[in-house]
């Protein structure tokens, strides 16, 4: 500890140069980046200097001297001077940076004195992921954060982030705060990773300072700021190659044709096994002798390309004087879809200008402006439907006829055509603007007293223009030898247009009075503040049918009949106001105590229920600072800490405190067939609706030991109550209170749910150097388990089917315990009416000798993992650097029932292993007309289709090389780094047919695996600094 303080002093001591020694120069880097501010000292002297912005240093020393390189964030290193040649020094980062400053809610704090559970990721690490969507950079990096990437579609490829797993039956969304603005419009996903200085994740009651919206955790993002010094121009370019992590193998044509025969056989066993195709026809599918009539199509190959390209340019200039500092940047991202001749394209253009100025000695002003254009272009058919077509389309149908005409695919959906712009495109540009004006003023008269605040305006404009153009596909009539044209797309053979505009704004104002001061050994840091915000949304949509020409994609060029036109509009707004306070105190940085409180008001709730109070308290004890602890030399740092507080969640539909009626014009009256205006009751009132509350307890221990090890261990628990959730299972339909299918329920959210959750987080890190090789390795582990204490359930629900007492999001499934292979099996096991050989055997759970809904049981896990873990590796050697992140999850299940049958093709895993009269030992059930209506599938959702979605995957890996400074300085470049990195490079999992991160969130059994697959990205890049 003393050494470190010494180094601070050294940093400050003016340097005297010893004339008789020669000048030694060199450059200090770490992980390929120049390290400024490193203290360089000649050992056993007072001589020293610090490195400049480019990591360069120069000092007087002689051959034989030893130089000591010291920086708070890096492992101290010594190097003997052998000659006068420039030195190149690479430092390894320390994992426990005791004096590191961490961004916390409404301020910053020294990491050493933190009392909450806060994880930090640096921007430098975020850019190591070639996935430009920032939400994909968190998985595996630290404990407590669960990030699942559910889709790889450009523009919609974000991860769902859960902090410490699911904790509520309500909304589980994390609050994102960007540069101090809670819930900034635009969020975190599309921020340019190059603009991010750091991200802090508040996992415990430390988030209580965000009160009503903090229950699911808070992510704080801080963008880069200028630093005093010469302008630094940095440019980077990345070229990425992206391909699906995995796609299911599908059955080929002869297999599928055989299955079709089997399905006919099961419908009509009297007709035999060749009701659809003769063996000769199947042979033709197999041997390809008649590609016109008997093709064998691999629809994935026909529709998808091997790799899609993506690229990213980023340019920034930063620097400043004592009084004005700036960071300005420009960036662009381009991502292609993986379709052949596909229309899908995501392009992003963004700028940022962060300027801080000292107007007077006391008054500081910051103006942070950023803007972004997100251009999304998709084909008319959405990704889900395209992949639905790919997986459904029969291998017995060609994609393109030998003469070049497109076929009608599956029910006139030919994915080869659907992915292109031939049917028109769906253009969906979004612009986001964020402006923050920040000010702070040190109030004279009382040292440590200051006033600060900000005023921010966020705006976003999303447009959607979907022009649907008719185009032909063909079906071949073998008898007549003709190709019959079918016009698909558009509407009734003519083009149609839908346009939509959504404007959102968020205006936030914040003012706070701060007091920070050291009184001898006592340190006080406190503030009181006020914040308010207003969100406004309005939307407008219009459509036209019957365009005279497909060349004229504008509303006013569409059909002129009254029935050709339609339009709609909607708007809402809501407001919040908050009073915030915090008092942090420490004695010698040894005893730490902090209290926070927030009073939040929200227009979501009725008068009298609008305000909630969210206090928290935390404390820490740095045992290693105690005098009596000093003899324990193998522990360098040891801290115990704990926090407890109340946080809130108000993320529910607005205006639920009165009966809501809404127009729904559908009923037609009169001889002219006019639609009469109609009103429906859409929401019953809950006049008592108010906050959901979370009480969070967190106990942690942090230590640095044996010099090279660092560890953290946390126990956490959370009690959610007043969870805003709907009663539906307990309300009999006969009451007339009946919720519609698939849309907003009639019943309002009520503060009825209760969920407890708890778990542990553990992190262990090690770093060291061996010669020129510096390396670090860290592992993290999170176990988070929820338990439902109260959820609305039917009074007569069976104990073993209740959700109460079980984790969130479990599935209710029949236990598939085998396949009926013999008549004896059918005789021996209770079975469903109509069960036949090849069907799944369901466990007669309640032993009543029949299979009914009472035999379904709850699964142990849902599809949010109970356990996640990560391994973070890094090493550097001279100019080379390497890093990797592995992310894993276990105790997790995923239900996927493919849409197979006469309705669509089969995964090979099913097709090749199906039970059939000819394959009585098959491990999969017999094929059926429609999996979704089969007694082996959707009719009796069962554990056969539930997969263990555990995996370990190499989330990120990067290898970089810094080109020798000598060569560069000659061409006026201060730094040049080339690197290659990858995302999702490999995965170990038992899931066969789809990416184990895939599937919808929740306990839905409706997933059929039809989503745009997750991407594996391999990327090369270069970074140049001037």
């Amino acid at each position: 500890m003393k050494k470190r303080f010494l180094s601070i002093f050294l940093f400050l001591i003016p340097i005297t140069i010893w004339a008789q020694q020669s000048k030694i120069t060199g450059k200090v880097v770490s992980g390929g980046e120049a390290v400024p501010g490193v203290s360089v000292r000649v050992k056993n002297t007072n001589q020293g200097t610090t490195t400049d912005n480019a990591g360069q240093f120069s000092l007087a020393a002689g051959v034989g001297d030893t130089l000591v390189f010291n920086h708070l964030s890096y492992v101290t290193q010594e190097l003997a001077v052998k000659n006068n040649a420039p030195l190149s020094i690479s430092l390894a980062a320390t994992s426990q940076n005791v004096n590191e400053v961490v961004v916390v809610g409404y301020g910053t704090q020294k990491k050493a004195t933190l009392t909450g559970s806060i994880s930090v990721i640096k921007g430098a690490d975020i850019v190591k992921s070639p996935q430009p969507n920032v939400s994909n950079s968190l998985a595996g990096r630290f404990s407590g954060v669960i990030a699942n990437n559910r889709s790889g579609e450009p523009g919609y490829d974000n991860s769902n982030i859960y902090i410490r797993g699911l904790a509520t039956t309500g909304n589980n969304d994390v609050l994102v705060v960007v540069d101090g603005v809670p819930g900034q419009i635009g969020g975190l996903q599309r921020l340019d990773p190059n603009d991010i200085e750091s991200m802090s994740v508040l996992k415990d009651a430390s988030a209580a300072v965000y009160g009503s919206r903090a229950a699911n955790g808070v992510i704080l993002i801080t963008t880069k700021r200028g630093k005093t010094g010469k302008p630094v121009i940095s440019y980077s370019f990345n070229q990425g190659f992206s391909s699906p992590t995995r796609l299911p193998k599908m059955a080929d044509a002869p297999t599928y044709a055989t299955i079709m025969n089997e399905i006919q056989y099961y419908t009509n066993p009297g007709g035999g096994l060749n009701q659809f195709y003769t063996d000769a026809q199947i042979q033709k599918f197999r041997d390809g002798s008649d590609p016109l009539n008997y093709p064998n199509t691999d629809w994935q190959k026909a529709t998808l390309r091997n790799t899609a390209l993506q690229h990213q340019h980023s340019l920034s200039v930063s620097g400043g004087t004592e009084n004005v500092k700036y960071y300005v940047s420009l960036g662009t991202i381009g991502q292609q879809g993986i379709y052949k001749h596909g229309a899908t394209q995501y392009d992003q253009y963004n700028f940022r200008s962060n300027i801080d100025a000292n107007i007077t000695k006391r008054l500081k002003v910051g103006l942070y402006l950023s803007g972004r254009e997100e251009d999304r272009v998709y084909p008319q058919t959405g990704a889900g439907d395209i992949f639905r077509s790919i997986y459904r389309a029969y291998p017995t149908v060609a994609a393109i006829y030998p003469n070049g005409l497109p076929t009608s695919g599956i029910e006139n959906n030919n994915p080869v055509m659907q992915v292109t712009d031939i049917g028109g495109t769906n253009r969906n540009p979004t612009q986001v603007f964020n402006g923050i004006l920040k000010g702070s003023y040190d109030i004279p008269g009382l040292e440590g007293l200051s006033l600060d605040g900000f005023f921010s305006v966020d705006k976003s404009w999303s447009a959607d223009k979907s022009f649907s153009i008719p185009y032909p596909v063909y079906s071949y009539d073998a008898t007549a030898n003709t190709y019959n044209k079918v016009v698909v797309g558009g509407s009734a053979g003519l083009a149609s247009l839908n346009q939509y505009q959504l404007n959102q704004s968020l205006v936030t104002s914040n003012i706070k009075l701060n007091f920070t001061r050291q009184f001898g050994q006592h340190h006080v840091d406190a503030f009181v503040g006020y914040e308010q915000s207003k969100t406004v949304m309005d939307s407008l949509s219009a459509s036209r049918l019957n365009f005279p020409s497909s060349q004229l994609p504008e509303l006013s060029q569409g059909g002129s009949a009254a029935t050709d036109k339609n339009n709609a509009g909607k708007s809402y707004q809501f407001t919040r106001k908050s009073y915030i306070a915090r008092l942090a105190y420490n004695y010698q940085e040894k005893y730490l105590l902090e209290g926070q409180a927030r009073i939040d008001g929200s227009s979501t709730f009725p008068k009298g229920k609008q305000y909630g109070f969210f206090p928290s308290i935390s404390a820490g004890w740095r045992i290693s600072k105690e005098d009596w602890f000093q003899p324990v030399s193998f522990i360098q740092d040891l801290k115990l800490r704990g926090s407890y507080g109340t946080l809130g969640n108000d993320n529910v539909g607005l205006f639920q405190y009165f009966d809501n009626y809404s127009f729904s014009n559908q009923y037609v009256v009169g001889t002219g067939s006019n639609i009469h205006p109609g009103i429906d009751l859409i929401k019953l009132a809950n006049p008592n609706i108010t906050w959901e509350t979370a009480k969070k307890l967190d106990l942690g221990i942090n230590a640095v030991f044996l010099q090279h090890f660092s560890m953290e261990f946390i126990y956490f628990q959370q009690k959610r109550s007043n969870i805003l959730t709907q009663r539906n299972a307990s309300i009999p339909q006969v009451s007339g209170i009946v919720n519609p299918f698939g849309s907003d329920p009639l019943v309002p959210s009520e503060n009825i749910g209760k969920v407890n959750s708890n778990g542990i987080e553990a992190t262990l890190g090690y770093n060291n150097a061996a010669g020129d090789v510096h390396y670090h390795i860290g592992g993290n582990f999170t176990y988070a388990k929820s338990k439902i204490i109260f959820i609305d359930e039917a009074a007569g629900a069976l104990d073993y089917q209740r959700q109460t007492g079980r984790p969130l999001n479990t599935y209710l499934l029949y236990n598939a315990i085998g396949i009926f292979r013999t008549q004896a099996d059918l005789d021996n096991y209770p079975h469903l009416p109509g069960a036949q050989l090849g069907d799944l055997i369901y466990q007669d759970y309640n032993g009543d000798k029949q299979i009914t809904a009472d035999d379904a049981t709850r699964t142990k896990y849902g599809n949010i993992p109970e356990i996640t873990y990560g391994i973070v590796l890094g090493a550097d050697y001279k100019g080379f650097d390497f890093s990797a992140v592995l992310a894993g999850q276990t105790h997790v299940s995923q239900y996927v029932l493919p849409e197979s049958g006469t309705i669509g093709n089969f995964y090979s895993s099913w097709a090749d292993n199906r039970w059939s009269p000819n394959n009585p030992n098959g491990s999969y059930p017999r094929a059926d007309n429609r999996a979704s209506a089969s007694i082996n599938g959707g009719l009796y959702n069962n554990t056969f289709w539930l997969n263990n979605a555990s995996f370990l995957r190499l989330k990120n890996i990067e290898l970089g090389y810094n080109i020798n400074a000598d060569i560069l300085s000659r061409i006026k470049i201060s730094g040049l780094r080339v690197y290659a990195n990858a995302f999702n490079l490999f995965t170990i999992t038992k899931v066969k047919d789809y990416d184990p991160e895939g599937g919808p969130t929740g306990s839905s059994t409706s997933s059929s695996g039809q989503f745009y697959p997750q991407q594996r990205i391999v990327n090369v890049g270069v970074n140049v600094k001037f």
Binding site: F574, S664, Q666, V668, V669, G736, F741, E750
Partner: protein
């Protein structure tokens, strides 16, 4: 320095103004929804609320495709006929489980939503009836709206009664969330008789208050006196039937006669055209559709694969066999002239209006169901969309609609809830049972037969023979109109008719002639006694904590 101080103070002042806390900052008036006070304060809004009671909510996937469902099932991808011996739904969609006797409280297929949907509508009608006196409007207008609400409420009870038997009668009670939703009153099922009596009394109230006709102020598509009388006729017919045994045939006959006596309705000249014409004089009550408020596109969803259709609801041989020869004889009659190897000649005209068969002309080409090579067989395009029964649905198909890409334009056919032919059939059946096959019975049936050029029924039929004749007439006249399911149940013949295998036809050709071979189109068809009524959904039984009595056998 001084200016800078002023600047500082200025900035702080601005900051102060920006955050100046307005006292009513949290008071937001919603702009996208209407509170109940507004609905009750304006008779136009109130009427808009009443209008939408003709519909109800979607409670299931593949229901309410297009617009919200009305009464019964109506035009959906899988029609109600796919639960009977009229057709099978080609793509299953949870219809086969009903046909195969797998219907269970947890597996109700497409038949699971009537319970919840009806009770939701009843609650909404009750709310409106409770509030209507507080809404300012003319007495006449209020009377009509009240009549409309009574009619809708009765129609919902009809939907419940004919599927579940005796049901829970709600009276005018509107349950709210703060009420005791475990109240015994919620779980006490009335008898069938009590249920029917209640629905009929509701209809009597509607009959007294509704206008006789649709005119400028009372638009087509809204209930009339005739609609209420027709519903009453149906209910009383059901009540008198063996399964219900809760009323008299005489009352049923009188109720049907009351509709006939209105003199307002008559048979449409064209049997096939009637189903495409919302303004037909035969229609007593219907649901209309329009661009922007459509049902499923029937032509593509039911058309033959050779026409790029999806062969949805495909008629069964069981129905095909019910159509007489045009000489008025059943095909089972050896003297009928029926030839099983040339089965589609000289049949009842309604056969051609209802069913597409091998060799039928449809949209300027011939339907080819034969193999090998027929374009509408498995040898045609998209062969998974070919028929399993050997037939396609013709009824309701509007040849003006495109089959390809009909989205946004097709789906406009009216769904007819009541038409005059049903009332005539109701009358004939009830009168035959009440007094025997008198002249009025013959008149009613022969009127229907005359339209399609079928000969009059032979004179001198016994009551039993007449009963059989009427049942056959109903089967073919009202095919696909959601009658067969209920008719075979109320006659208590479902244990016979629904246990006959689901037959189809195989057509093969060699040397220009066709060979017709009867086949089983869907294996495993089964019906057990318990299936006379639908099971109350398992979720409902559980929500009641097993206090609501499940129908026998489930």
């Amino acid at each position: 320095m001084k200016t800078k101080n002023i600047l500082s103070i200025g900035l702080i002042a601005i900051a102060g103004i920006l955050v100046s806390c307005k006292k009513n900052y949290l008071d937001i008036t919603p702009t996208d929804r209407v509170p109940d006070v507004a609905v009750l304060a304006d008779s136009a809004l109130f009427e808009d609320f009443v209008i939408n009671r003709y519909m109800s909510v979607k409670l299931q996937d593949k229901e309410g495709e297009g617009t919200n469902p009305g009464f019964g099932r109506g035009f959906e991808y899988a029609m109600w006929s796919a639960l009977t011996d009229e057709s099978i739904y080609n793509n299953d969609d949870n219809t086969w489980l009903v046909q195969r006797g797998q219907l269970a409280p947890e597996n109700t297929g497409i038949a699971g939503t009537i319970w919840g949907r009806s009770y939701r509508s009843i609650r909404e009608c009750n709310y409106a009836l409770n509030q209507i006196d507080s809404v300012a409007m003319s007495v006449g207008h209020r009377t009509q709206l009240r009549g409309e609400l009574h009619f809708i409420r009765a129609f919902r009870y009809q939907d419940l009664i004919r599927n579940y038997g005796g049901v829970v009668l709600m009276g005018d009670k509107v349950y709210n969330l703060e009420d005791n939703l475990g109240d015994d009153a919620l779980f006490t099922r009335a008898t069938i008789k009590q249920s029917i009596d209640y629905a009929v009394s509701e209809l009597d109230s509607a009959i007294a208050q509704l206008p006789l006709a649709n005119d400028d102020s009372w638009q087509l598509g809204r209930a009339t006196k005739g609609a209420a009388l027709a519903l009453k006729s149906r209910l009383l017919l059901y009540a008198a039937s063996p399964l219900y045994n809760a009323g008299t045939w005489a009352n049923a006959a009188a109720a049907a006669k009351a509709v006939m006596d209105l003199g307002k309705y008559s048979l449409d000249a064209s049997y096939s055209g009637l189903f495409l014409n919302a303004n037909s004089n035969e229609i007593i009550f219907e649901r209309q559709y329009a661009i922007g408020a459509r049902h499923v596109c029937l032509e593509i969803s039911n058309g033959p694969n050779g026409y790029n259709g999806w062969a949805g609801n495909t008629p069964l041989q069981n129905l095909v066999d019910a159509y007489q020869m045009s000489n008025g004889k059943d095909i089972t009659d050896p003297t009928s002239g029926y030839n099983a190897q040339n089965p589609y000649v000289n049949r009842d005209a309604r056969f051609y209006a209802t069913i597409l068969y091998n060799g039928a002309t449809y949209r300027n080409s011939t339907v080819q169901i034969y193999t090998p090579g027929g374009k509408d067989s498995k040898d045609g395009p998209s062969n998974w969309n070919t028929t399993k029964t050997g037939y396609y649905l013709r009824k309701y198909m509007d040849d003006r609609n495109p089959i390809d890409n009909p989205w946004n334009v097709a789906g406009l056919q009216p769904w007819i809830y009541f038409r005059y032919a049903e009332v005539l059939l109701n009358y004939a059946e009830a009168q035959n049972e009440a007094v025997g096959p008198d002249g009025t019975v013959y008149n009613a049936i022969n009127l229907i037969r005359k339209r399609v050029n079928q000969p009059d029924l032979p004179a001198g039929l016994s009551q039993t023979q007449m009963r059989d004749a009427i049942r056959k007439e109903r089967q073919v006249e009202l095919a696909f109109e959601e009658h067969r399911f209920y008719d075979v149940r109320r006659w208590k013949i479902a244990d016979v008719t629904e246990n006959v295998p689901a037959y189809g036809i195989d057509v093969t050709t060699s040397g220009g002639s066709y060979v017709y071979t009867r086949k089983v189109a869907l294996s495993g068809r089964a019906f057990a006694t318990k299936h006379y009524w639908l099971p109350i959904p398992r979720t409902e039984i559980q929500a009641s904590n097993n206090r609501i009595t499940q129908n026998t056998g489930y």
